[in-house]
Symmetry: C2
Subunit: 223 residues, 2 copies
């Protein structure tokens, strides 16, 4: 016999944390970080702005939940059967690609790194480092180095994307950074001067991968 509707059963149009998260992601993807307000969210969900607080503690809670959602999904695609070194690269690149697709994830994960999204990344990388044979005493620091690097790049990428949005193109943004970094006091910044062309033309994903390889080589060397 069919179960009686439980108390927790809801009309399909009832509010829920899941629906709020989905709407928030939608706004962030479509209109950017500045467009996510409780008023905009309420309008999109055709409800009152106060209603959202019944399901979500505050804006930080909402952003943590949306970020965790995206990171969890990104890590789902990462392989389990690959060699540890390849698995580490795959996990790191999966996170990188998720942030590339949604720069607001980078903003959030670097603004509030002590959240569940980081826990997932930490766990995924740590397990593979173990499988790689890194001795136990070096596992915590090695994983932290990898996670720290990843967070740093996330911050750079997210900030870059915000500036690209203003300058309309990635080339324009980098040309602008290089111009600002080389115009005043060029004598004080010979190294920046020297790598200016590379900075202007580099591929973010390739550079990210190169950094991961450096850290993996360092972990192997230190062990």
């Amino acid at each position: 016999m069919p179960a009686k509707p439980r108390r927790t059963e809801r009309r399909s149009d009832a509010l829920s944390k899941e629906r709020i998260i989905a709407a928030a992601i939608n706004i962030l993807d479509t209109d950017g970080e500045g467009a996510l307000t409780f008023r905009a969210l309420a309008t999109r969900l055709t409800t009152g702005s106060g209603a959202i607080y019944w399901h979500v503690a505050n804006k930080d809670d909402l952003l943590a939940a949306t970020t965790d959602h995206v990171i969890a999904k990104a890590l789902t695609g990462a392989p389990v059967d690959a060699a540890p070194g390849d698995a580490i690269r795959a996990i790191a690149l999966a996170v990188f690609d998720a942030i590339h697709a949604r720069p607001w994830v980078g903003t959030q994960i670097s603004r509030e790194p002590w959240q569940s999204g980081t826990r997932r990344i930490f766990e995924g990388l740590g397990q593979q480092l173990q499988a790689l044979g890194v001795p136990e005493r070096a596992q915590f620091n090695s994983t932290s180095a990898l996670v720290g690097y990843l967070l740093g790049l996330a911050a750079q990428y997210a900030a870059g994307a915000r500036l690209v949005a203003q300058k309309t193109s990635r080339a324009g943004f980098l040309t602008d950074v290089v111009a600002r970094w080389t115009q005043d006091e060029p004598d004080r910044y010979p190294f920046v001067q020297q790598i200016a062309d590379e900075l202007r033309e580099h591929d973010d994903r390739e550079q990210f991968r190169a950094g991961i390889d450096i850290i993996l080589a360092g972990i192997a060397a230190i062990r």
Copy 2:
């Protein structure tokens, strides 16, 4: 004969970008990131909030200038005559210590990394990597790895400090993070479970230094 007062000469109580930056740093150090508003700044400078805009483009500009000021000062102490490897550690630790003393610098540098503060760090580390003998084709990626790691740790440290402020102690904050990271679904996070004690008791500065050593070892190995 004494020079005539030039047009640019000012009464000592006149506003200037320098005075605004000093007041902003004062507020940030004393009352935290949330306390820096144009109204608070105007009160401390006994002026109108609109007056600040004559010297500073907007809040982002102000924060970039304060951060650059702190980073510049931090790098002043870094040695020039040390061996390249030691100089790199010294530069990195100087930035780390500056962020330790002023977590708001970490927030700002990870939120807006494409600013002058990062340029100084990039230049300092790049020069030493050159002196270390890293081949030219590897210099850009190597420096970026180091800078990326440093920004990531800056973000972690700043976020940690914000949470410490809420929890009143660093031990309390880390205990809280560990509790949140291990309580639900412990089976899905065996690695986090395993390093929980280390996470709770680790020394940030030592871990940061360990990460720098890993990256330096990696740079040496890859070359």
